[in-house]
Symmetry: C2
Subunit: 100 residues, 2 copies
Amino acid sequence: MKISEFQDLMKELYFHQDSERKVKGTFIWLVEEVGELANLLKGSNEFELDKISDEMADIVAWVCSLANLLDIDLEKALINKYPNKCSKCNSNPCFCSTII
Amino acid sequence: MKISEFQDLMKELYFHQDSERKVKGTFIWLVEEVGELANLLKGSNEFELDKISDEMADIVAWVCSLANLLDIDLEKALINKYPNKCSKCNSNPCFCSTII
């Protein structure tokens, strides 16, 4: 599935609600999903990959909702920021020294 | 561009660094990007769409890095969570009542 197709699906499913919630309200929902992912990653238990997959999907979905509200083409944004090389060191693979 | 192609590109560019940083270290970088997006959305100034686009791209990029570390197929995760309908109310468009 193309990134643009997924963004379009999010528009089809949620734009009527996103529009009511507006940008800042929608951002808060994105942050909630990041918190839910944190909850699954913290501690020393084995990772629950099914739940983590769902939370990752939710994070991308809310980014798409925000992009739809701001009329941003997320696929274009990704290609523009990551044109087959690192956006900071211009290399592929990245050779930036700031790993940790 | 397919979601899986973008995830593969992130692996090509950053997996050697993500592997050193590990899951929790990589999650912190994701959170930093969410904070940078917050910084661009707060206040009453007009939205700087170019900068916001870059931050959205960074958030998706770090989600891909995390997915690569956990061997999660993000495209599959998205299709599984959003199979052309809302995952909560099973409708398209979504009819969940929790908008705000």
